[in-house]
């Protein structure tokens, strides 16, 4: 199984997968993504529908039995969790190496100068 072809995940895909650690339907996913990202990522209905379709095709999420007849419920798969782990490790390295090379003071000063 070639996991690397999906990596790196886009910000929207990452949050969408993260929103499905517990089973949820589309609208709940939209709300969760917004909440998990501190309101920085908002996915509209049409975009979310397409995203779900793609993630199902890539087998990163799967449909589960739902008590709600009008709404389909999904949950992340093992492959999806593996993908989140791999991408998280990748980003951890990025933040680690950035913190190491870019002193926080430089960041602070830059901010002051810009303001």
């Amino acid at each position: 199984m070639d996991l690397n072809k999906h990596l790196p995940l886009t910000e929207t895909t990452y949050y969408t997968l993260l929103s499905l650690l517990e089973p949820a339907h589309g609208y709940i996913m939209m709300q969760k993504v917004e909440q998990l990202s501190n309101q920085t990522v908002k996915i509209a209905a049409g975009t979310m529908y397409g995203a779900i379709e793609n993630l199902l095709k890539q087998q990163l999420i799967k449909a589960v039995k739902s008590t709600d007849k009008r709404r389909k419920t999904y949950v992340i798969t093992e492959k999806g969790i593996e993908m989140l782990r791999l991408d998280c490790e990748r980003m951890k390295h990025i933040t680690y190496i950035t913190d190491k090379l870019l002193p926080p003071t430089a960041l602070g000063n830059g901010g002051v100068e810009d303001a």
Binding site: T12, H25, G26, Y27, M30, K42, I43, A44, A45, G46, T47, M48, Y49, G50, A51, K69, R70, R71, K72
Partner: protein, 206 residues
Amino acid sequence: MHKFKFFIDFEKEEKWLEQMANNGYHLQNTSLGYQFKRERSETATIKIDFRKFRRKEDFIDYCTMFEDSGWKHLAGSKSSGMQYFKKTGDTDGDDIFSDNNSKAARYKRYANMSFELAMSFLPLLVVFYLTDIIDFKAFINPKELYFTPGLWDKTGTSFWFSFLFETPLALMRGFAWSFIPLTIILYLLFGYKSNKLYLQNKSDKK
């Protein structure tokens, strides 16, 4: 009120429907042209998606998700492809798409459907050709398409009466098949145009 109009560009269609709502005409149905109901003028936000569904429950799930997030499904059916949505009060976003890729992808789905339809007419064309219904000799000798005995020996009013009487039938006999290649060309054209819109929209910077 009924209106017949044809759009390939979804954005132009959305603008037109919003203008109609502004004039007090509200979209009710699209099964045969656009059907409007006269009501009060309204500043509406109308958005169009293109999707077909295999199963009824897929379609219901799709509509419910839009309604949950503040978009009322105005018109469209399971297999109509075109899906019309109107923004209801309780939503903060102004679009049913939040990125250019998904906004452009609806043109891609439309283009693919057009190409598929065009292709589905090809076998019919082959069958018609093999069964001699498509006969190119008719272009060279259209006289063969007239069956009235002794038509070409007649003269004067008698000739013209018989000739004009049979001409529509002769045309049907000889060229009725041409609606198939015309349909194919039309679908290819729609497909080509919406594919172009897909590429344009995809590369648009927001």
